[in-house]
Each structure stands twice: as structure tokens, then as C-alpha cells.
């Protein structure tokens, strides 16, 4: 640098230096050749001076002002491979990750003794087919795959053989450490590294764009809760020989899906061998007529529009005839029933009468507000569209009141129930971990919500949901048993039994839903396959297991304060305050 400045000075200040004096002297003496020589020298000197000045300037520019050189390259760019981003649960447990795995290939031309090489390979990779390997190695080709996706220890073992002509090529492989657990949520990616289901498909672009450099995609799922729910549902599935099951645990305040299970499930690590029935997500894609659980919404609706109060009474003396239908109660009380009685005896007649007083238009508006008339907006490609009556006749209004004639996904129904018990705030279900308070929209009044809490608790204390009770937790909930529709009629031997519960009812934190597809009664249930016998116990066991995990404080459920806070008498009187 100093040299450059020196040269620059010489060129920049010609008059003060000796060569120019000589130019002047020689010019006065009239020496033409000398003058020309000096002039040329000056030109050349000036040229070099400028050149060096440019170089100096560039060096200063590079060293002093351009600091960003070299920092722009990151590891993933350097590898030149797109690395799919990780998916983790709400506590950072890895659910999906991309690993660089070695695939074994051979260059048969370079293999001197195929028989010996085959023997050696068989010793470390016993799953290979002896004959096939020998054949491949004997071909004399220049390249042949032997085994894709080796484990690191297998790779080491093959390396240790030291057989010339064998080599490894690194490939990206998607692994799911938890296998089938949460498989329907996470989904799976194909061999070309593109998501083909679940979160993997919904966030495909984000996961690919992430390149492993950004933080992993954090789901709202909690693996421990997911496991508890899955295990309890699997036990019930086996016990009652159901063809399928679905379950959800939803945060009632934020709409975060803490667990979502659909059985049978599949192992995303071996997607090729999975069955279509296993890949079907019963919790979000399946739509079911849920039956009496819908009465939660019917009563909320009647209270909200003011067509009934908790103390109103409805005539359930006789079955209700509408057109060619007759609406009956499963356990007829054959008398006038109050609103709490309609709820705990699960009276279809009472619910139908309540809905008729609200009217078809307001009912549709209400169900739409609760998110049951259109697809749920969850971050999955597998989301079922609800089946709603078209046209919406008076018959529809009545049957929808007790959950027939409308088929919704368990996921969107759990979201609607969350809104009825959390104080009346709409909480669209989400699979992404909440990053803080969200803008909530009110869909119900706080009073209606509190009434529903008390009714749900009452139903577990002395209604159809007694088997859902869990010691230490104020569980509330509603059963729903629906016959499956087939060819215009209903089949009494093919049921969908579901239970939607929540806890703790004095300040609901979590909604728990369990659904069994075609359960069969057994001796322990006295032959019944209805929800109160099959689905409710699942919810009880799930809540007992996840309550302590999720940090819900157990309370003395028979203490005076706990009972008073959620008290509601059969004629609709309330006491205390849950808030």
C-alpha cells in the first residue's frame, strides 16, 4: 500500500519533483529527442500512476468497506442439496427429520472375486439376497446399486470389509423417529423428498425452503399426550372390536391441537406397505353423524337466542311425528322435561322441540358461526367437508338438533365445543404451536357458556356420562351414539359412539374427544355398544393420565366449593359462581 501511495505521489505532483525540472531544462536547451523521451516517460509514468491509484483504491474499498465477503455462504448452500426442515412437537421432540444416509453401490468391473465379495457382504448385511448379490457383482457393469439407505453401523461394517469396488453415495432420507405415533398429523414425504400427506404436504414449500437452517416447524402436538390418547383408544378399539377410532385433545383457550389420533394408523417410515384405511384420518377427514353430542350446541343455541332458559320445560311425553319420521327417545321418560333433564336423559324429542322454537334459519346461522357448516381451517390437506341437509327442512332442524342428518368431522366438532365452554370465544383448531395471545372472536355470551359447563358437569355426575368421571378432575361431557346411515336407512348394529368431554369444568382448559367406529358390546358393558359404555371410559382414562402431564391441578371433586361452583339442579337452578 505504501508503495502505491509513493508512486501516486510521483504522478500526482509532477512539478515538485526533479524529473520535471530536467524536462524544463532540456526543453530550453532545445534537445528534441530528449524532450520526446521525457514526454513519453511522463505519459507512461502517469499511466502507471493512475493504474496503481485504481488498484490502491480497490484494495481500500475491499478491505475497508466490503465486509460481507465470505459470510454469505452457509453449510446448506455449500452442500448444494436441499435439506427438508425438521418437524418437532411443542416440547421440541423431533417428529420428522432429514438424515444424510449412505447407499451402497458396487462397481462390478473392479471386483476381482464376486463370490468372495458376496460372502463378505452377506456377513454384514444378512438381509440381502445371496443369489441376487452374486449375480449383480458378476455382471461386469460399471455401476450397480446393492442396498439403499444403510444405517451408520451397517455402513461402518461394510467399510471395515475393505472390499475394493464397493462405494457409498450419500442421499437424503426422511425419518420419523416416533413412527406411527402422530403419523396422521405429521404425514409423510415421498422418495423425491416432497410431502404427500399431513403437515409434510401442507407446509411442503416452507419445509423445503427452510433448508434446515431456520428453526424447525413447531407443532402444537404434545407427544406424551398423543401417546396416552393413542394407547387408550387402541385398547378400546381392541376391547370393543371397533373398525376404527378417533380422538382429540384440544386446548380450549387457544384451539391448539394437543393430540390427534386416528386408528388404524400407519408407519410413515414404511409408507409403501401401509394400507389406505390406515392413512385415512378419521379425526379430520372423516365426517360422522355424531348423535346426541350435538345437543350441547342445540341447548347453547336456544339459550343464546333466548328461546329457552335453564328453567324452561318441554313436552317429551310422546314421540314426535314429523312427516314420515317419528322422533323417539332411547330411554323415554314420557313426561315434561326441563332443559337439564333433556340434556342428561339425552331426550331427542326435547332437543327437537327446542330447535323448532329457534327456527331453521337461526339454527343454520348458529351452526355456521360455530364452524360446523364448512370445512375446518386446520393446517392439513386431509380435511373433510361437512355433509349438511339440502334443502334444510323442518325435519332437518329437528334431526340436526340431536345430531342426525348432519355429518361433521370430530375435529371441527371439538372446536365448536371448545367455544361453548371457554366463555364463548371462537377458537379455530390449529396444529401450530401458539406464539402468544391471539385475537379471539366472541360467538357466545359468557352466561350461555357457563350454563353449558354446569350441564356438562351434571351429565357426568348423574347423567349418561358417569363413566367419564376421573378422580381429582372436574370432568364434564356428553355422550353421542349414532347409527350409521346406509342406503337411506339407519343400521342399529353399526354405531358411531363418541364422547366429548372437557376438564376442569370450573375453568375448562382441555377438550377431550373419543370416537369409536362400529364398537361391539361385550360382557363388561352388559352388551351395550353405546357411547356411555364404550367411549366415556376412554375419556376418563385419558384425562386421568394427561391431567398431571398437562399441569392441571387436581381438586377434591366432592368438596363443597367444587360442587357449589358447578351446581345446577334438575329444574335449572344454579348456585355459586364458576368464575
Amino acid at each position: 500500500m505504501s508503495g502505491v501511495v509513493l508512486m501516486g505521489q510521483r504522478g500526482a505532483d509532477p512539478t515538485g519533483t526533479p524529473p520535471n525540472q530536467r524536462v524544463r531544462v532540456s526543453a530550453s536547451s532545445g534537445g528534441d529527442a530528449l524532450g520526446t523521451g521525457h514526454a513519453r516517460l511522463t505519459v507512461v509514468a502517469t499511466f502507471f500512476a493512475i493504474a496503481f491509484a485504481i488498484v490502491a483504491g480497490r484494495i481500500i474499498d475491499l478491505s475497508a468497506f466490503n465486509d460481507d465477503r465470505g459470510t454469505g455462504t452457509s453449510a446448506s448452500v455449500a452442500t448444494g442439496q436441499s435439506v427438508r426442515g425438521d418437524i418437532v412437537d411443542r416440547n421440541g421432540v423431533v417428529l420428522a427429520s432429514s438424515l444424510a444416509v449412505a447407499s451402497l453401490y458396487a462397481e462390478p468391473r473392479r471386483i476381482a472375486d464376486p463370490a468372495l465379495a458376496t460372502e463378505a457382504l452377506m456377513a454384514v448385511l444378512p438381509t440381502l439376497d445371496h443369489g441376487q448379490v452374486f449375480e449383480k457383482l458378476s455382471t461386469g457393469k460399471s455401476f450397480v446399486w446393492l442396498q439403499r439407505h444403510l444405517t451408520p453401523s451397517q455402513q461402518m461394517a461394510v467399510n471395515a470389509l475393505g472390499v475394493p469396488g464397493l462405494g457409498f453415495r450419500t442421499e437424503q432420507r426422511r425419518v420419523y423417529p416416533h413412527g406411527a405415533l402422530a403419523a396422521h398429523v405429521v404425514g409423510y414425504a415421498g422418495i423425491d423428498n416432497h410431502g404427500l400427506g399431513g403437515i409434510e404436504q401442507y407446509f411442503d414449500a416452507d419445509l423445503l425452503g427452510g433448508g434446515g437452517q431456520v428453526s424447525a416447524l413447531e407443532l402444537s402436538i404434545d407427544v406424551r399426550t398423543q401417546y396416552a390418547l393413542q394407547e387408550e383408544l387402541a385398547l378400546a378399539l381392541e376391547e370393543f372390536q371397533a373398525i376404527g377410532a378417533a380422538g382429540l385433545v384440544l386446548d380450549a383457550r387457544t384451539g391448539e391441537i394437543i393430540a390427534m389420533v386416528s386408528l388404524p394408523n400407519f408407519d410413515p417410515n414404511q409408507i409403501g406397505t401401509s394400507l389406505a384405511d390406515g392413512r385415512f384420518n378419521r379425526a379430520s377427514l372423516g365426517v360422522y353423524e355424531l348423535g346426541s353430542t350435538l345437543k350441547i350446541l342445540t341447548i347453547a343455541m336456544a339459550l343464546e337466542f333466548g328461546t329457552a332458559t335453564l328453567e324452561s320445560e318441554f313436552d317429551a311425553t310422546e314421540p314426535l311425528r314429523v312427516g314420515r319420521f317419528t322422533i323417539r327417545d332411547d330411554h323415554p321418560e314420557s313426561r315434561w322435561l326441563s332443559v337439564p333433564e333433556i340434556f342428561i336423559h339425552s331426550s331427542n324429542i326435547g332437543a327437537a322441540r327446542m330447535a323448532m322454537e329457534v327456527g331453521a334459519d337461526r339454527q343454520q346461522e348458529f351452526l355456521n358461526r360455530m364452524g360446523l357448516m364448512s370445512r375446518a381451517g386446520v393446517q392439513l390437506p386431509e380435511v373433510g367437508t361437512p355433509i349438511v341437509p339440502k334443502p334444510w327442512r323442518d325435519t332437518s332442524t329437528m334431526t340436526v338438533a340431536f345430531g342426525h342428518g348432519i355429518a361433521v368431522s370430530p375435529l371441527q366438532f371439538a372446536g365448536a365445543v371448545a367455544a361453548t365452554i371457554n366463555g364463548g370465544w371462537a377458537v379455530p383448531p390449529t396444529l401450530i404451536k401458539s406464539q402468544g395471545p391471539v385475537d379471539r372472536q366472541r360467538v357466545l355470551s359468557g352466561e350461555t357458556s357457563e350454563a353449558i359447563r354446569r350441564l356438562l358437569r351434571l351429565n357426568v355426575l348423574e347423567g349418561t356420562g358417569t363413566l367419564a368421571a376421573a378422580p381429582g378432575f372436574l370432568v364434564g361431557g356428553k355422550t353421542g351414539t349414532a347409527e350409521k346411515a346406509r342406503g337411506g336407512g339407519y343400521q342399529s348394529d353399526a354405531l358411531v359412539s363418541s364422547f366429548v368431554g372437557a376438564f376442569p369444568m370450573n375453568d375448562p382448559r382441555y377438550v377431550v374427544l373419543a370416537l369409536l367406529d362400529e364398537p361391539q358390546g361385550n360382557d363388561s358393558t352388559k352388551g351395550f355398544a353405546t357411547a356411555g359404555w364404550t367411549a366415556a371410559p376412554v375419556v376418563s382414562r385419558v384425562i386421568s393420565r394427561i391431567g398431571p402431564l398437562l399441569g392441571v391441578e387436581p381438586v377434591d371433586t366432592i368438596s363443597r366449593t367444587a360442587q357449589q361452583a358447578l351446581f345446577i339442579s334438575l329444574d335449572g337452578r344454579t348456585a355459586g359462581a364458576a368464575f
Binding site: G3, P18, L99, F473, R545, E553
Partner: protein, 127 residues
Amino acid sequence: MSRVSVITILPVAAAAVLAIGLYAMKYEVARLETRANELQRSLIAQTETLGVLQSEWSYLNRPDRLRELALRHLTLVPVAVQQIGALDEIPLRAAPAVADNRGPLSRIKPANLPSAQMAQVGEREAP
């Protein structure tokens, strides 16, 4: 003459110094680039290893496996709700009755060690 030689020698010397400097710099840069590449490769390798280990860790922490291990090796069972209590459910020792109207602090003398106080409290409660 001496001036001319200074003018000649100085640039030549400068050029020589620069050449040596440039040469050294070039090799330094090449060395650093090699080092940077090495680090880059190592970083990639470490990241990959980290990914493998994280997946492995997640795999080994599967809830069903943990439960099986716990059943085999531990005598612990999940916490039952009866075992969870609130802080204010724990009974406290009854406050010592103060005989006179002096405040509790007035009794404290340097000789009054906590153990001595405890004994005192015990005596007073005993009858």
C-alpha cells in the same frame, strides 16, 4: 547521482517488498481458504451428525419404550392425583403464644440461637 539512485532504489525496494508481501498474502489467503473449506466440511458433517443424534434421541425416547424400560428397571409408577397437593394444605406449627405485650422481636437476644428458641417454643406448648 545519489538522488537518482535513491529514486531508483526506493521503488525497486518497494516493489520487492510488495512482491514478497503479495506472495506471503497470497499463500496466507490460500491457507485460510483451505482452512475455511475444512471448517465448512466439518460443519456440514457435524450438522449431519447432530441431526442423526437428535433423531436417535427422539427414537430412543419413544413413550412406549420408556414405559417398558421403566417397568423393567424402576419401581416408580405414575403420580396419582392423591399424591398432588397444594402448598397451603401443609399444616404449619402453631404460632407461639405471646404472654406479654412485648413484640416478638424484643425477645431476641444475641444468645438466643434458633435451636434455643425452638426448645423454648416446645416447652411452652408442652403443658
